[in-house]
Subunit: 430 residues, 2 copies
Amino acid sequence: MSERDTAIDPADVERVRVLATAARDAARRLALLSRAEKDAALHVLADALVAATDDVVAANALDLARGREQGMGDGLLDRLRLDPPRVAAVAQALRDVAALPDPVGEVVRGSTLANGLQIRQVRVPMGVVGMIYEARPNVTVDAAGLGLKSGNAVVLRGGSAAADTNRALVTVLRQALADAGLPEGAVGLLEGGHGAVRALMTARGLVDLLIPRGGADLIEAVVTGSTVPVIETGVGNCHVYVDAAADLDRALAITVNAKTHRPSVCNAAESLLVHAAVAEEFLPKALAALSGEGVVLHTDALATRSAEAAGVPHDLATDEHFATEFHALEMSVGVVDDLDAALAHIRRFGSGHTEAIVTEDRAAARRFTAEVDAAAVMVNASTRFTDGGEFGFGAEIGISTQKLHARGPMALPELTTTKWVVEGDGQVRA
Amino acid sequence: MSERDTAIDPADVERVRVLATAARDAARRLALLSRAEKDAALHVLADALVAATDDVVAANALDLARGREQGMGDGLLDRLRLDPPRVAAVAQALRDVAALPDPVGEVVRGSTLANGLQIRQVRVPMGVVGMIYEARPNVTVDAAGLGLKSGNAVVLRGGSAAADTNRALVTVLRQALADAGLPEGAVGLLEGGHGAVRALMTARGLVDLLIPRGGADLIEAVVTGSTVPVIETGVGNCHVYVDAAADLDRALAITVNAKTHRPSVCNAAESLLVHAAVAEEFLPKALAALSGEGVVLHTDALATRSAEAAGVPHDLATDEHFATEFHALEMSVGVVDDLDAALAHIRRFGSGHTEAIVTEDRAAARRFTAEVDAAAVMVNASTRFTDGGEFGFGAEIGISTQKLHARGPMALPELTTTKWVVEGDGQVRA
């Protein structure tokens, strides 16, 4: 609630009002475009980005230099970097979005009522979508592209570390929109300090949806500080539970993949739970394999025995460890008496993102998928599969960890709402 | 933001925590019930209400007496009243909900991925749904019934005017749940003052969804004061636009029905817009008919001529009038030059609930349905049809006027979220 309790500078409120009003006007145009018109515009944007590669790379160099001065780590610097191949990749992503089906106009359901009224629920754009995100400048282009394809105008608020890059990218995109005969207001960049962000979060009636992407602190601040509708994304304390009836070779491969394939992302596993009946057989192998991949291990009392048997480095797992999303080569490991204990542990420590069970027992799999309350529940598969690309959506604007509107990977349909169209020949209520 | 800036009494926070935790535990049970078990329980609740008619009516008498002392108007007293026939009707509503299909378990979409993973998106209950509403005690029973059918536990916060009635109703419902072998925590009643409401609105992680039902002030306070997800409902400044190509007999019937059939509700029309080409022919008849039904008329300069021609009482419409939801036999009336002017007026004054056009011109109908941004757009039909019952949903928990999650009439499916279930045979990310 902190964000909202502090007064907001009227200049920031006005800056947001101007941006959002231009976006609203643009959105009215975008909502009426055919798929062909939107796809053609996306190719114009892609070509413009490639043509402007030098300007974008030069602007990015300023951000990189500032980052180095401020002692930004190599990992963050790499996420911030845009070299010519990456600019080409970002442009290609726009062409890929053009190739996706248009969600707008889809008839979700409909019927003819007893009185002859024909009703249908049709997908329409949200209108104005705000994005608040951190360092990666490709999000700026992805959001603009997904917004355009779904008929939405976007108001973008990127991280200050990428300020010069984002300004250059948005300048190119807005000019390209104008060249394509579309309103520049379809893509707006919100500059200014935290006050500007607070003004965006409280722009009721001007912004239809706000999507935060970034670390837990950013997301918490946006979710609790906003009075406009928000979709909470991407916080994941994911578990792999190895059941008594697990195929232990599969369990080993899934555990190592879920933890080490890409540790920094939200669908990576942070915690391993093993049924007591297979702990002594499975854990020494699993802990040795994880340790061999450089994973720091926090083991509970029973798992510690296996760590010692395997002779791998470890320390004693605390509740703190089990509650932590390491987003690194680090994992908490526990032994549970049975499926009920595993479900109770996941209820207590899970974040509702992705939970996996490894088992050959149908009953255990059915209970796990029915009782775990999460956006995605995996049976005999890595947690890493919770991803818009892997699910075949062709794009991803984020992974929702809330229950309202969208849950799990969000792509184009999740950027739309619906409208009821009712056609009659003079019907009135009796 | 006012609601949230004031401190909340820890006793209220604790009261909400206890209620919501009991609801959470109950929701875990409800989520696993079969349709047959839920339907049987709904009949137990209905029978228990009928059996407890005398207790409920006696408790309601206390509320009615208090209301009269406090000078409550006849209209509100009537909405508050529960006599034996109304108790029977409320019980029957529970049996009607039992007859509706169960939304839980529906497979929304699914596919088999190239790697053999079988993914499906399945409807599951939200979990804990909070309701904040005003005088009508039937909402207490409706919300409990719709919650149970959709596998959700509910935390109910009714108006203080109905405090004794709601306490009696919830006591009966909780005992009936216990008799049916279900957790009493599935239906909780939040008592206490405004502090208790603020505690409910900020119970993040305890409440999955909050639905306010009532006047604009209540809804605004809940939407801006909540940090838990909210669905905004039921604010409606609805227009009937009579196009140049309208069938004027249909236009007259639709206008009178939309305004006078039930003026107090959100899908009643508040404003009439008429194309200049048909104003002189249509308006005198329409204004005479409306005035004959007792409608107070606020006419713009051009409509005033017709009012005078018809010799009906009227005053000059101001922007204030056009912006007002009268929810009474009162209407603003304007003449517009063309469809564009009508669309611009609706953009300016509409609330995004329901807008109607009367026309025989396909092009005008297509533009109106495409360009009006509202939950429901009617062609040649009364605005009064935006209703869960009329749409064939069999029930209604409210009418969403926001774009996130649900838009328009909300019934059982809108009280659910989804979960991705992914089944494999050892797949890992390459």
